[in-house]
């Protein structure tokens, strides 16, 4: 009887400790900065204006692509917008805007008021597509090359330093 108790207790404890051990490797803090150097997934996105689909593999047609995640309700997005306008004039770079968890009318008004730097505009009203890019808060901006590889990732609004950095990369 004593032995059976002992065996049951030991099996139970071994299970617990093994799970503890496994949980040590389990990453709890979600850090999207690790994504630099990885390739973005080939996913289908919905265009903002006409609900047509856009597949991310099409961006291999462009030399460099900048994904910008924004919304009209996001104050820092407003702040960085002028920098996006500056970048939109660059010939080597196409900017794809992803409108994140936003209201369509307000998003349109935002672009009318501030200008439209986007070559293609995607909508993501529930924020689900953005997760494929490792985005869970905005603004975020991702620079991707022809091979769909992520070169740079900016969390928070782009400032003038970031703009110059992007320009430098795109020139090469």
């Amino acid at each position: 009887m004593k032995k059976i108790h002992l065996i049951i207790i030991c099996i139970f404890l071994i299970f617990i400790f093994t799970t503890f051990y496994l949980s040590l490797d389990n990453k709890k803090i979600y850090n999207t900065e690790d994504m630099v150097g990885q390739k973005i997934d080939k996913v289908e996105l919905t265009l903002f204006n006409n609900n047509k689909t856009f597949n991310t593999k099409e961006i291999s047609n462009y030399k460099f692509t900048l994904f910008n995640f924004w919304a009209s309700w996001c104050a820092p997005c407003r702040k960085e917008h002028k920098n996006l306008i500056k970048l939109s004039k660059n010939k080597n770079l196409k900017i794809i805007g992803v409108n994140f968890k936003d209201n369509k009318t307000q998003a349109k008004e935002f672009l009318q008021e501030m200008g439209d730097p986007f070559f293609i505009l995607i909508k993501d009203p529930k924020g689900k597509q953005s997760v494929n890019f490792g985005v869970y808060g905005i603004p975020e901006t991702i620079l991707v090359n022809q091979d769909l590889e992520i070169l740079k990732k900016y969390i928070g609004p782009l400032d003038i330093k970031d703009v110059n950095e992007i320009k430098k990369i795109v020139k090469q």
Binding site: K2, L6, I9, C10, L13, I16, F17, T19, F20, Y21, L22, S23, L24, D25, N26, K28, I29, C74, A75, P76, R78
Partner: protein
């Protein structure tokens, strides 16, 4: 300089522990009943150098010596002195050093305070305790060294997380550590008792003061942590069933069970193995808690910087500790058969133990389930207050009843008393008055109120009777009275709390139930190491026409750059008014959380009473229960 001294001092203390283990093993083979002087001397050396190493770290913090990485990462010259001091244990490495110091202090005190006890028992306790000390010293020196130097020496430190800059939080970790690290001494003593076959009564008398004192500190530590969460975190509550809060509560359940069953061991010589199991479990649960918090596998306000190597070390230690305890237990545990008569005091104490174990199981499952599910299936869930409240609340009713009727029974006897007595009658009467005043419909809450009143009145009567017989068991009466009050006030607080979240602009008003909240003004100001935006609010109670002014703050700390939301709380004897504000980015709209919380001070006071019982039990060892 300090860095080197710290490493040298802690190494000397480690060496002393290793020597102590060696000397103790040698001493086991020597006959005689006195422990030789050199063991005392080595213990003293160990104590002195361990305290000195802590003092070195403390000095580093006070004088902002950034040549130690630990000070550089967690302190800053502009920090107020009080928080420089508390910064010493506000991080993983420093708190580990505090851990070790408590292990050492308890080891030393145990040795000098039990001079007349069985020699082998003391020697074995010393061996186990010093094994713990050595392992933690090795962990400290190899993996988590608070004295690690940094070169070139930085001019300025990175600062302490501002939410940790609070007086309650500064003292909260040391209190809790004395509580749960203190339990190490009865862990060691329990194992030693098994091997050296100490008899029941003597073991009970030896363990009791250590259990009382650690239980007292654990209770106070939990209380202070709660107070901190209430005032500082700005969530507007005092208990969140946060995994780390749970880790401090789990050893508490076991300590409470132990505190009661050790009485049976003392009086009736029963439950010997059970007391040993509880002693082992209490410290094991403390280490499990430490593992969960330090390894970073839980997400909580307490999470320390994530470092898997730390987790691995604590886990290895835990596995070794648990399996060797099981081995020792199964090898040495005596077989005992005792039948307990129903309606004897020991029967009720045994039931109390099962309640505590049940509470422990519920909290343990709630805490570990998300971790296990995430690890084994990748699914992420969180277990929150509804789970705990749903499962635990109904069980409060029988617990309250048992706490009321248990102490009335005598040891051994099985006579049943009249069930319907004057006290029950009085309680029902009082309850009915309260019922008609508050008009609460929930049956469960009403029952809890009724039984808490029953417990309160019963303990008051007990006190009176004891006073007549000149034989007062003040510790039990104080703790049970406190617990009755606690449950009573938590229920009342639950019924009458008002809570509301809304957005306002400056100059606007908002109506919530009986209150009008007016956002009058906004000012900026700056403190020693932060800038702040202060909101001026006026709260009008429409019924009583009382005005209160509250000033919640948004603080922007410069080192490290962090924003905190300081709740403004107007605390009266009977009710707290609670306001926090946060701004919605780049707009003039502020989000306000308004709460009216009755009887908060009574809740704190009740817990204080509960813990007071522990300290009374400590000083009142010879008195009968």
């Amino acid at each position: 300089m300090l860095s080197n001294l710290g490493i040298i001092f802690s190494s000397i203390s480690l060496l002393a522990s290793l020597f102590l283990i060696h000397l103790s093993f040698v001493e086991l083979k020597v006959s005689g009943d006195k422990i030789p002087k050199k063991i005392y001397k080595f213990s003293l050396v160990q104590l002195i150098f361990s305290l000195l190493s802590f003092l070195i770290l403390l000095t580093g913090y006070i004088f902002s010596d950034f040549s130690m990485i630990n000070v550089y990462e967690n302190s800053h010259t502009t920090k107020p002195l009080f928080y420089k001091i508390s910064g010493t244990w506000g991080n993983h490495e420093g708190s580990l050093l505090l851990w070790i110091n408590i292990l050492v202090i308890f080891s030393f005190l145990f040795l000098i305070l039990n001079k007349n006890k069985n020699k082998n028992f003391k020697i074995f306790t010393l061996i186990f305790q010093n094994l713990l000390i050595s392992i933690f010293f090795i962990f400290l020196l190899t993996n988590s060294n608070p004295f690690s130097p940094v070169f070139p020496v930085p001019n300025e430190g990175l600062g302490l997380n501002p939410i940790l800059q609070d007086p309650a939080l500064a003292i909260h970790p040391p209190l809790l550590y004395v509580g749960f690290v203190g339990s190490s001494i009865y862990f060691s003593a329990a194992l030693a008792a098994l091997i050296s076959k100490v008899e029941a009564k003597s073991l009970a008398i030896t363990l009791k003061p250590w259990i009382s004192i650690s239980w007292f500190f654990q209770t106070i530590g939990i209380l202070v942590g709660s107070i901190w969460a209430y005032y500082e975190l700005g969530w507007g509550g005092y208990w969140f069933w946060d995994p780390v809060e749970n880790s401090s509560l789990m050893p508490w359940f076991l300590m409470t069970a132990l505190l009661h069953s050790v009485l049976v061991l003392e009086r009736r010589m029963g439950l010997y193995s059970w007391v040993i199991i509880l002693s082992i479990l209490t410290f094991t649960m403390s280490v499990v808690g430490t593992f969960l918090v330090r390894s970073g596998i839980l997400n909580s306000v307490h999470t320390f910087a994530n470092d898997p190597s730390r987790g691995l070390f604590i886990l290895t230690f835990l596995v070794l500790m648990v399996f060797s305890s099981i081995f020792i237990f199964f090898k040495y545990a005596p077989s005992e058969k005792k039948n307990y008569r129903i309606f004897s005091k020991e029967f009720f104490i045994l039931i109390n133990n099962w309640f505590m174990i049940f509470f422990l199981a519920v909290v343990l499952i709630g805490t570990l389930y998300p971790v296990f599910l995430d690890t084994l299936s990748g699914e992420k869930i969180s277990v929150g207050p509804p789970y705990y409240n749903f499962i635990l609340t109904p069980f409060l009713i029988p617990l309250l009843f048992l706490m009321t009727s248990g102490p009335k029974h005598k040891w051994v006897s099985s006579e049943t008393k009249k069930f319907f007595d004057i006290i029950l009658f009085l309680s029902v009467f009082l309850f009915l008055i309260i019922f008609f005043v508050i008009k609460e419909n929930n049956l469960l809450i009403n029952l809890i109120l009724l039984f808490s009143i029953y417990l309160i009145i019963q303990t008051i009567f007990d006190f009176y009777e004891n006073l007549k017989n000149r034989n007062i068991n003040l510790s039990r009466i104080t703790s049970h009275f406190g617990f009755g009050l606690l449950i009573f006030f938590i229920s009342i607080n639950h019924i009458f709390s008002v809570e509301s979240n809304f957005n306002v602009r400056m100059g606007e008003k908002k109506d919530i139930k009986n209150y009008v909240i007016k956002f009058e003004n906004l000012e900026t100001s700056s403190g020693n190491n932060y800038k702040s935006v202060i909101g001026y609010f006026e709260i009008l109670n429409k019924k009583k026409l009382i005005k209160e002014n509250l000033r919640p703050e948004i603080r922007i700390y410069n080192q490290p750059k962090t924003i905190t939301y300081e709740a403004s709380i107007n605390s009266n004897l009977f009710s707290d008014t609670y306001l926090t504000m946060s701004n919605i980015s780049d707009s003039d709209i502020f989000n306000i959380k308004f709460q009216k919380k009755p009887f908060m001070n009574f809740i704190w006071f009740s817990v204080l009473l509960i813990s007071l019982g522990g300290i009374l039990n400590f000083f009142n060892r010879k008195k009968e229960i």
